[in-house]
Symmetry: C2
Subunit: 464 residues, 2 copies
């Protein structure tokens, strides 16, 4: 399957500041070190490993409430370490940045519970400290369990969340792109001018959800706006992606479905005035690999045997919004007709669309790598399968999840990275560190056709 | 002045994620590197330097609005790099923590613009990553320039801010002290129990300002509650300190005034059920030192000559709430009768209480080290003066500000730290790293008499 026209993929390591992310109960594996998520050394070693293996980004998921749809309480999530407890992802970054030069950091932050004026400063601060290696994975927080701890009775409804998010991004662009001109920071000791104040502009934003008067508190970073990641395949989510995202994280029941989603998002981006190649697309996957196919299969069977049914149902309940503790394991899933489950199942039915799945089947499937497809085999086998999947679906890269941590990434780097390098799927390390956007989009700042650029009101046409 | 009963001081380095903190215009000094505040290496080197010099904590100030009382706009602050631009302090910490083992980090966060449920997770995350080296400097945000960027028309009034802060702390204690029992985290791979959910308790907080139902999202860190720092000498601030603070940062017109403030705060702490030694007190100071008194004086004169009048007036306007651009430099300050200026002046009049200060005098004074007293001399001279000042005022230690960065701290570590070590004023480095609270309060978690401990409702009397 190796393609002479092969171009490098976007390779992200996918993790969360928790014990158990999207695999179920595998923290009990003797080699699993995920319980060390509270230790800085654990994260630094992971970042160095990913950088060595040619990954572009460590993509950090987040949630700001406990996982508690299953049984209507967090007990099973706590018992199985399923995304509860959970620590803050953003605070890990400067520690990992100090020990790496090339790896990017994609950080999930919700627009529902932050102030844009303070979040702009946070992202600029991190972009400064990493010399431009930051991406923001924009989410809008659907969790009732977050809402009721943050002053709301329940989560704000879906479309309204996106309305808030769109205004949040508008404020953010004004702060990042509009409020400080290029060259505003002079650092001129002779004349005693640190900043040329005539090049710093209050934004005077007065909107439906936010009032923000001043310029960004932070001077611009090399990327200005962090690289904008977004997940979400709903119609409103797609409009939001078309207007904001540079990298979209999506799934689909089949490769053809993913391709269809990508095409629709591309059309929406073009309608928003952007070029067809302005957004890049990634999908989730888990790789279980070893020196040979047989060894990889043996490892996969070992993981499957440890995967925990209850932990998987906790995850499946969170993803579907349905309390699956109420149903027997032989419950046939195809008869449950809700949008929530159809959407959640889209990512797995490609494995065997003909099979009649029960709740128990899906719980066992989720065990290793969640609902994303799992690729098992030696280096050539997995690389072939990933290339086929990328070719059929049209994705530009992957968020690679782990079964055990850091073991799954160690195997990836040891066995698969050399094979992917050989096939041109890993971007060669540049002589000098570059920004994350240069790696992913070819230039350090937002492209000219990105809607965020229109807020550079200080930029006359001659500068463009 | 060396005292045979000398006990170690609390030694903090005092900084902010900005170019110019409390000295005025000294970023123009040829050796000043403060413009590198956006670079992680700059902060890591500073943290390592402070650790080498025996400092307990890097105390990071913050403000979440531009400095703009002077002329009613931020232009002069921007031009002179006076606390504007400003980056986030919290995001620096994991990078510095990775390069140090002993230094604590005191981080300023306002209770006015954060959600307690999310802030609890942030502090626990940092306390995890640093193995218990975190302090929270609690502030309540008086700045109109913050309020109008964060959804308010102007800052909430003083007493109401403290009412919010007190409920914020109550929620925080419930999350840190009350919601997770000791031993809740089992990490038992055999039984498949990561957390014993019966030992994790939703807090069900329903108050005037906050509604928070669930347990802390983070498992407890070694300190549980970060060490609680507080600045503020108002009557309401003193009540707040008595109920919450473990280290209070205060100033005063004379050493006797500081002693008086300390005594009043001690009385309030006793009234709140705490022992007389439960709170420790620090004050601000700047040290200009060198091998000899003459060299130190020469350095001080060099700094004074560079100090910028406009930058000093920007600071003085921010501290007093008065736009001093309206007044001539020969304006006599004693005739301006406002509480704001009296309070701001308290920190400096001790230098020469008989002198009739003009606006120009104070601007020149602020130039090096702001309104805090500046100690100039060789190691023995400065150590003598600090010991005298500590003896007279009764403080337990200092927040040491810089004139130039990192030069002022380099001089401190090179010249003064050996002298202070000789005099027993620097706590010897322990064989094993310890928590910040062990260094400052003798034990890793809140003392039994701290009001926050009463929220450990799971702790039966026999465990105490």
């Amino acid at each position: 399957m190796s393609n002479s026209n092969s171009k490098p993929w976007i390779l992200n390591g996918f993790a969360m500041n928790v014990v158990g992310h999207i695999s179920a109960g595998l923290w009990r594996h003797p080699q699993d070190q995920a319980f060390r998520y509270t230790e800085l050394d654990h994260w630094i070693a992971l970042a160095q490993l990913l950088e060595e293996g040619g990954f572009d980004t460590l993509f950090l998921a987040d949630a700001v409430g406990p996982v508690d749809v299953y049984e209507g309480r967090p007990d099973a999530a706590l018992r199985n370490g399923v995304q509860t407890p959970i620590d803050d992802p953003m605070l890990l970054v400067s520690g990992m940045a100090a020990a790496t030069d090339h790896l990017g950091f994609g950080i999930t932050v919700s627009t529902t519970y932050e102030q844009p004026f303070l979040l702009a400063r946070k992202f600029t601060t991190l972009d400064h400290l990493t010399k431009g290696r930051i991406a923001w994975n924009i989410v809008t927080s659907a969790l009732d369990s977050a809402a009721r701890n943050l002053g709301l009775k329940q989560a704000i409804d879906h479309d309204e969340r996106y309305n808030i998010a769109q205004e949040f991004l508008e404020v953010s662009y004004k702060l990042w792109e509009g409020s400080w001109e290029d060259g505003a920071v002079r650092n001129d000791r002779e004349r005693g001018v640190f900043v040329d104040a005539s090049k710093v502009h209050p934004i005077h934003h007065t909107g439906k959800y936010f009032q923000v008067r001043d310029a960004n508190l932070s001077q611009p970073s090399v990327q200005r706006t962090p690289v904008l990641f977004q997940a979400g395949a709903s119609s409103r989510g797609r409009t939001f992606a078309a207007n904001n995202a540079e990298v979209v994280f999506l799934g689909g029941a089949t490769a053809a479905d993913i391709r269809n989603s990508i095409e629709k998002t591309r059309e929406a981006a073009i309608a928003a005035g952007r070029s067809a190649d302005s957004i890049r697309f990634i999908t989730g996957a888990t790789v279980i690999t070893a020196a040979t196919d047989a060894q990889a299969q043996a490892k996969y069977q070992e993981y499957l045997a440890l995967a925990d049914i209850e932990a998987a149902l906790v995850l499946f309940s969170a993803w579907t919004g349905i309390d699956w503790s109420q149903y027997p394991l032989d419950h046939p899933l195809e008869y449950i007709e809700t949008n929530a489950i159809r959407s959640a199942l889209e990512n797995f039915t490609r494995i065997d669309a003909e099979k009649r799945w029960t709740l128990g089947d899906i719980a066992r499937y989720i065990g290793v790598g969640g609902l994303h497809p799992t690729f098992v085999g030696g280096p050539a086998t997995v690389a072939d399968a990933l290339e086929q999947y990328a070719e059929e679906s049209g994705v530009d890269g992957f968020n690679f999840a782990y079964a055990i941590k850091p073991g799954t990434f160690e195997d990836f780097v040891q066995y698969l990275s050399p094979e992917l390098r050989k096939r041109g799927r890993i971007q060669p390390r540049p002589a000098q560190p570059q920004t994350l956007r240069e790696r992913l989009q070819g230039q350090p700042q937002l492209r000219k056709d990105h809607p965020g650029r229109k807020w550079r009101t200080w930029e006359s046409s001659e500068h463009q």
